[in-house]
């Protein structure tokens, strides 16, 4: 398993700056994030956006591996229920997310580190507010236990 990417960025840390991986669906959340940018809403730079075609495409292993590699939080953002471009992708993710949360909890990581949110293409403001809120929340939780595991090697 590759473990370098997240380590490099956090080598010279003194003040804790969380690293959040966001999986955004192409049709709603990614467009929302784009709108946040073009509308010049300010939000923290702690987020790294990964564009996927649909939240229904996100395998539970993608979320778990992001945490395993040292991400402090994982955000999954998709279309509002009923708005999915592929009819029911977000419903699939909603169901799957319950199991992801359970798995994260049983492994011993705080389940608050993973979040599922619905953002439409017109909600740039909501996206910026969400990132701000999530960054604050993760800052309070502290660094991910894996960041410490990876760095102590």
């Amino acid at each position: 398993m590759v473990e370098e990417p997240f380590e490099k960025e956090n080598k010279a840390e003194e003040k804790f700056e969380p690293l959040i991986v966001a999986y955004c669906c192409n049709w709603c959340a990614y467009a929302g994030a784009d709108l946040a940018g073009t509308s010049r809403f300010e939000y923290p730079t702690n987020i790294r956006i990964i564009r996927v075609m649909c939240t229904g495409r996100i395998d539970p292993t993608l979320v778990l591996e992001a945490l395993r590699m040292g991400a402090d939080g994982v955000l999954v953002a998709g279309c509002h229920p009923g708005d999915c471009h592929y009819q029911k992708g977000n419903y699939m993710m909603e169901k799957r997310f319950e199991y992801i949360k359970k798995a994260v909890k049983t492994t011993g990581i705080e389940p608050e580190r993973v979040r599922l949110e619905w953002i439409s293409a017109s909600e740039g403001g909501k996206f910026a507010a969400l990132v701000r809120e999530m960054t604050e929340q993760i800052k309070q939780l502290g660094p991910s236990p894996f960041r410490l595991v990876n760095n102590s090697k």
């Binding site: 292993t61 945490l67 699939m92 199991y99 798995a103 011993g108 894996f146 102590s152 090697k153």
Partner: protein, 113 residues
């Protein structure tokens, strides 16, 4: 690396492997499941499958990491009950994921294939 961190790493790796397994993939990730059982019972089944798969992958992980081990040694590494490990070993042998490779102190040694 402290033992606690090692344990966390091992458990997370087992969980990731469990989610890659066919058995869990069949039940996780469907929006609607068309089975003739009530929702609560279905949830219970999925939970038990998830628990089993994570434990099984912890056993496989321990065997891959430390080579051939006896049930007692697996129990020390994974902190699972010996009776539970034997149940998992039966299932894992049936699926052809582990095999016996001799004996140690009159106990069978198992190895991941």
């Amino acid at each position: 690396m402290s033992e606690k961190k090692e344990k966390l790493k091992r458990k997370t790796d087992a969980t990731i492997d469990a989610f890659k397994s066919q058995r869990l993939r069949w039940v996780v990730g469907r929006s609607q499941v068309k089975v003739e059982v009530e929702e609560a019972k279905y949830q219970q089944t999925v939970d038990s499958i998830m628990k089993d798969e994570v434990e099984r992958h912890m056993i496989i992980g321990a065997l891959k990491e430390k080579g051939p081990l006896t049930v007692e040694e697996i129990a020390q590494l994974t902190e699972l009950q010996q009776s539970k490990i034997v149940q998992h070993i039966i299932a894992l042998r049936k699926n052809g994921l582990i095999s016996e490779v001799g004996e140690k102190n009159r106990q069978y040694l198992y190895q991941a294939i």
